[in-house]
Amino acid sequence: MKVRIRRFDGQKAWWQDYEVDAKPSDTVLDILNRIREKHDHTLAFRQSCQMGSCGSCGMVINGLPALACQTRISELKTESIRLEPLYNYKVIKDLVVDLTDFVNKHRSVKPWMIRKNPQELEEAPMEFKVTPDQNLTFVQFDYCIMCGLCLAACPTVAIDPLFLGPQALAQAYRYIADPRDEGFEERIEILDDSHGVWRCHFAGACSYVCPKGVDPAKAIQYLKKEVLKYRLLHKKKASVKPAELIQKPPPANAPKPPPFDFKIEGGE
């Protein structure tokens, strides 16, 4: 199989062609490893889990941002493969891009649990009460593996480097939609900005390329709705009702394992 890879060594960029043995069941990542191990030790690409959960191996495969480990060559239905580093990022070497901006944007939307009383997060004896249906309102947006494909596909990111982008915005919504979170007001100024939710014009490319079904485009539209309600209807919080902590139940007797052979000291 012919593989054409866009390479970069820090100074110059070029296309390089490789001829590699391939089986239909091979993934693009298998092919890349074969090239690096058997043909060209200098080729740089990231990888880790090899099963679509770590987000390392995002790249542009035949023109489309995708994970190399989850793309079988039989699915591509092409005679040759063309690989490029993710679009909209600075390239460091070959298929390795700079993710610094990406992780900073994610952090800027305060993607962590916020409670009015922070003690509840750190010191409560029990868990929050969340029903299976409430889980479904946000868990889809928690699937994000931070592979960065959505930013590579986004036409708005391409023209506005300050745009927060689909990943960060979807993560803001992940927390806002979570009944355990009360941080809506802390995040609103960040989101309600010309480089925030309003910059998205709903191309939907992010959702198309997302390998985990996060659907950032949907999350951004929900965020717009929440921001409008806040600004126009003066609602001081997201439409999600905050979850309460479960009360500790009284202790009861449990069935016993074999009796101790030794006298023991108590635990923690």
């Binding site: 030790h41 649990m113 868990e127």
Partner: protein, 582 residues
Amino acid sequence: METLDYDVAIVGTGLAGLRTAIEVLRRDKGRLGLRVAVISKLYLMRSHSVSAEGGTSAVLYPEEGDSFELMAWDTIKGSDFLADQDAVWRFVHIATQEIRLIERWGVPWNRRADGRIEQRWFGGLSFPRATYAQDKTGFFEMRALYDTLLKYENWDRFDENFVTSIVIENNEFKGFTAIDLKTGNFRYFRAKAGVIATGGAGQLYRITSMAASSTGDGYGLAYNAGLPLKDMEFVQFHPTGLVPRGILITEAARGEGAYLINKDGERFMKKYAPSKMELAPRDIVSRAIMKEIMEGRGIYDDNSGLYHVWLDMRHLGKEKIEERLPFIREIGLKYLGIDIVDQPLPIRPTVHYNMGGIHVDIDGKVLNANGSPVKGLWAAGEAACVSIHGSNRLGSNGTNECLVYGYIVGNDVYNYIEKERPALPNPSQNILLAEEDRIFGKILGKESGGEDVYQIKDELKDTMEKYVHVYRTGSDLEKAVIKIKELKERYKYIKLSDKSRIFNYNLEHALELGFMLDIAEVIARGALLRTESRGAHARLDYPNRDDANWLKHTIALKGAEGPLFSYIPVKITMWKPVARVY
């Protein structure tokens, strides 16, 4: 050489590393203003903890019938009585608070209708206590820890920094040396306290559920710093790895009711574990599958040339699969084009976990050759061996160990700095210069020699796969020892073809291979010496457990001609060993 000063330097950013970092910062709240360096050879959030699937055990609702005693008993029996019982006792208590803490930080645990946390069955458990978030439990735990870490200020991230050595002088930790992969620059992390949380070494084998990055760097770092490794011969084979690659198909599939079926359509586990069936512990199920295959009841896969058995989930129904095993369905579809709703999956044992690791005490302090702590150095998670898992870890006891030991080590590190107020160390410059020369002069700069890193790695994987597998024999292990010795000799003559500095993966892989060869030697030699069968170490020539001679931990130290072995007693504080029947 660039020197970076920190109070605490943490290497490895899976669950154990992130949890440790958070605990130090959370305890501190700016009081001492401790600064933490979080170092990973990957990008943060890429560590292999994200691939943990099925569940995290803890006693959550004792009023319903579970208890700390029962969880401790399950863990110790599962370990084939090689676990240190005092450590298990402490571990089962802290696991409960950790499950609830990370819930409040955002983990979307599956829930019951009343809003409390749902739990399910896992292998070797006497009560359904595997707490889970779909079949992406480790992933969601990582998300919650990573996100929570982001809210703290007093730490710096060092993505894609490969640690090459631990600096220790006079039994005192003095920092880590590293290569910044992005620039190729040599770095010295000078720190008062160090934590190793680098995970396991599945990449020694060809068929493994572990990531390409799971090369056992922490084991290699400790071993080469003259520190002992413990119980390394116990390598866990997860029974259900997807053929051909060995991608993990979670034990939760069997927890939810999946069957294991041989060529004749028989649920063969009835022969090996009549009461627990498919939910026997992993060592027992892996041996059963290999036995079926060895006795001709496996199915041959044309594409890979491997034999396998079937994992059948069809009777669970689409609804249950979508709610509780969506990732397994995705894996089947993406890698084999098989929908588990309609078809069984071809599976065989896959290397999954290292029970052994860096020899630590009950607080996670790294111990030296004399069994006393190295000042200022800790290890946590799979990189460490306390030992909680003995010779066989129970499924759903891996992620909780990372959380519990992240908590314990984070606190112990904090207490140490608060009490002792150590100064920044000043190592002799010669150590640092020698390490820089080893990497950039002796390995990267070498122009002679014709050995290839990837060729040696290939041969190592084949050797381990062939001779140090589920079933072992003395003669196979001897072959492995000889072959590894040969590979170690050839490793001295490797020559790198990539001479660049920026993202030189060739160099990183060469350094990893050095660690892997050391670890393989410790595993194979330790396995050869242990003339009994216990947990994951099954010898066909010594099929029985031998408590009279082998109820003890293996300790391996680096010697001039390979590892030197000694043994220390197991801490038995609650239950005496009994026959292990399921």
